[in-house]
């Protein structure tokens, strides 16, 4: 059986999750917004053919992963060529973001930790599923996600993550 649920349900239930993932991967700015839009447009196109028992959140997070790569590539094409590609993926501190501190802290993580945190903790994917997206073994992904979360907790801008609860 294919999908019979109204697509709006997917947007309402998973819109926030997909935006968290896009922001963690691309930084909380226009690129993340573009990836979010492209994700839901592609999902809307594919929706009627989707098997009814699909885990919609996991499926959307995988689509978001593909779209984030597309956005990164098109940004690279538009950018002025330089000798060395800078190893950063995020614009940070964009006005209007939920919590600039958290996003700058996420952006400051080493790439694999950042992606593991994005897909596992923010996107809800299992470590095996995350490993399929970002490479490496599930065990390595598990370590990267845990290390990433630990660094976030220790980040001086984020005093209060876990220790003091939702203090903002």
């Amino acid at each position: 059986m294919t999908m019979k649920q109204p697509f709006e349900q997917a947007v309402a239930r998973h819109g926030a999750t997909v935006l968290r993932v896009c922001r963690a991967v691309l930084g909380p700015g226009p690129d993340a917004d573009d990836a979010w839009s492209e994700t839901f447009l592609a999902a809307l196109r594919e929706w009627p053919g989707l098997p009814e028992d699909t885990n919609v959140q996991a499926w959307l997070v995988r689509v978001a992963h593909r779209k984030a790569i597309d956005v990164t590539r098109s940004r690279a094409r538009l950018a002025i060529p330089t000798e060395a590609v800078p190893d950063r993926a995020s614009t940070i501190g964009v006005p209007g973001g939920t919590d600039p501190d958290i996003w700058s802290a996420v952006a400051a993580l080493p790439e694999r930790q950042r992606l593991a945190v994005a897909y596992h903790y923010l996107g809800g994917l299992a470590h095996t599923q995350t490993a399929e997206l970002i490479g490496g073994t599930p065990a390595a992904v598990r370590r990267a996600a845990a290390d990433g979360l630990r660094s976030l907790r220790r980040n001086p801008h984020l005093i209060g993550l876990a220790e003091e609860g939702h203090h903002r």
Partner: protein, 208 residues
């Protein structure tokens, strides 16, 4: 498929709370999705909700026209699921397509409009019920007919009960005026929006 194999730790829950996007950001992205999806012809059913003196109404339209008006007591989620099953699952909250219908409904309830001028998609009206539902707009604003009179009009004088069920299953209440059909003794009879809604509509039309 599984998600987290372990229960999320306090850290992870807090990370989710701290990264929750603002509602206005999601609303802006949703509007952008509506526009792009509409441009690309990807919206099989667009819908919105409007507040009226008879409660909240769900309005849904295909590319052809207004296809469904529903009262809250029908259960909006259930109505949308039926539309997804019957028409197509690309159902999106997209008020732009409903703007003319929403405006006319507002004018109607303000007493400034006596008939509706929006394209209708009649695909949910079948058979004899469809025949009855197509006749209903012939009953003009402020007037009523009995179930029997309607049965005679559609050429089947014996089908009084079937006229009743045609009115009860009208997919486009308010816009297609099934509320203007009463019992022969002048009592209200049933209504998809409940008896109070029917009385309110008739009172509105009498007063205008």
């Amino acid at each position: 498929m599984t998600t987290n194999p372990m229960p999320p730790t306090a850290d992870a829950a807090d990370l989710l709370a701290r990264t929750t996007p603002d509602d206005d950001v999601l609303a802006r992205l949703h509007r952008r999705l509506e526009d792009a999806a509409q441009d690309q012809g990807l919206v099989e059913v667009a819908y919105t909700e409007v507040d009226t003196p008879v409660g909240r109404l769900l309005l849904a339209a295909t590319e052809v026209g207004l296809v469904r008006v529903a009262y809250e007591r029908e259960g909006f989620e259930e109505v949308l699921t039926k539309l997804a099953t019957g028409i197509g699952p690309r159902v999106l909250r997209a008020p732009a397509r409903l703007e003319p219908a929403a405006r006319q409904i507002e004018e109607y309830f303000a007493g400034h409009r006596t008939s509706f001028d929006v394209a209708l998609d009649r695909r949910l009206s079948h058979g004899f019920r469809g025949l009855v539902q197509r006749h209903l707009p012939d009953i003009s604003y402020g007037h009523t007919q009995s179930y029997r009179e309607v049965a005679i009009h559609v050429g089947n004088p014996g089908a009084v009960r079937a006229v009743g069920s045609a009115c009860a299953t009208n997919p486009l209440p308010v816009v297609v005026p099934c509320h203007r059909v009463l019992r022969a003794d002048g009592s209200l009879g049933g209504y998809v929006g409940g008896p109070d809604a029917k009385a309110t509509l008739l009172e509105l039309e009498r007063a205008a």
